[in-house]
Symmetry: C5
Subunit: 100 residues, 5 copies
Amino acid sequence: MLLAKVRGTVVSTCKEPSLNGVKFLLVQLLSDSGDPLPDYEVAADVVGAGIGEWVLIARGSGARQHEGYRDRPVDAAVVAIIDTVSLDSGALYNKRDDFS
Amino acid sequence: MLLAKVRGTVVSTCKEPSLNGVKFLLVQLLSDSGDPLPDYEVAADVVGAGIGEWVLIARGSGARQHEGYRDRPVDAAVVAIIDTVSLDSGALYNKRDDFS
Amino acid sequence: MLLAKVRGTVVSTCKEPSLNGVKFLLVQLLSDSGDPLPDYEVAADVVGAGIGEWVLIARGSGARQHEGYRDRPVDAAVVAIIDTVSLDSGALYNKRDDFS
Amino acid sequence: MLLAKVRGTVVSTCKEPSLNGVKFLLVQLLSDSGDPLPDYEVAADVVGAGIGEWVLIARGSGARQHEGYRDRPVDAAVVAIIDTVSLDSGALYNKRDDFS
Amino acid sequence: MLLAKVRGTVVSTCKEPSLNGVKFLLVQLLSDSGDPLPDYEVAADVVGAGIGEWVLIARGSGARQHEGYRDRPVDAAVVAIIDTVSLDSGALYNKRDDFS
């Protein structure tokens, strides 16, 4: 999985039928310093993440391992909202600092 | 999934038999600023997308999660035509501006 | 899928048993201008492609979606011989121009 | 698989339900000289690896080939703690030198 | 699949249980000129390859399409020892020249 930050949403009316009801978030991938990488993903949100939150992204068939998603054409999903990232005995990220 | 723009078509007569009837679109991958990336995909079209439209591309086994596609040798599919992309409280793309 | 051009063959006697009878082609990946990219693939040929032809390459599990290939350890296959590529209202490639 | 070094942990309360009980390690990918690459992974730990240890990372569906993980949305796992890496008739890494 | 050259071995005692008995080779990926690329893989050896030999590497779920490997957490395997690579009507590699 990779660290990412939620930046926006993608809306589509005309889509593969099984995608009805799927919420698409545009997330920016983050480096291990917490800086934005050039890469992004449009990911199905299965945890109710909000703009600005740090999340974990699963890609490939891993993104479909969720009730009701196994037969949907998605290859990326937001599977966790991150509380903390600890790195080299320090704290890289703490959700409380960002959202309080 | 990634943002992409439909640029053309690929036609083949001699192909793996299960690919009969599949329409192949050449799509240009887009950055999160909407600019063309150097990468492209030849993707099976399951939504009837047209030249110039912004679409969502699913890759890998996700591209085969569509009625009748599970046993076809495709690794990329156009799975949605995009209406809007909202980013950082602004609008990156609105189909109405492009096609009206 | 990606555009590629057939450049050669790879021969192996000592291999995973299920690979017996599989023909391996070395194909050069092509950019969306038809120029050779630095990347190549060694792909199982399921359509009888010849040296110099433009082909479509499927990768990952998509490469095994062909009669008799589902249990073989391949991750890339030549799944179509390309007739034409049309791009931005022009023709990028026409097999007839190359092979007549 | 790739060589990697365990650098930290990622904690999440709000996550896809099947991820309960999964320990997420942040691992730095290593080059074949043992130097840190720019890429990292957040990987499910199935072997009990500790900070600073060299490990093997499996990605994609391979990361879910472990008792109880087949239906969990993970795409990377720590599947082995490395004892030694031998390269070109020399020793690139020996765990005993690092941890004694 | 990609061309690679066997450079070494990776040994692990503490690993996912189904990996017992799997031999891990460190292989250097090769360009289509036969030069070493910066990328490597740690691959399960299912053909008995030796140091210095040119081999074919399958990655992803393709690496597990071998008797007894379908449920093991591996994402790369050595699936063939290469005899010859022919390219653009010339010979890029002939095992006999290297090992005689």
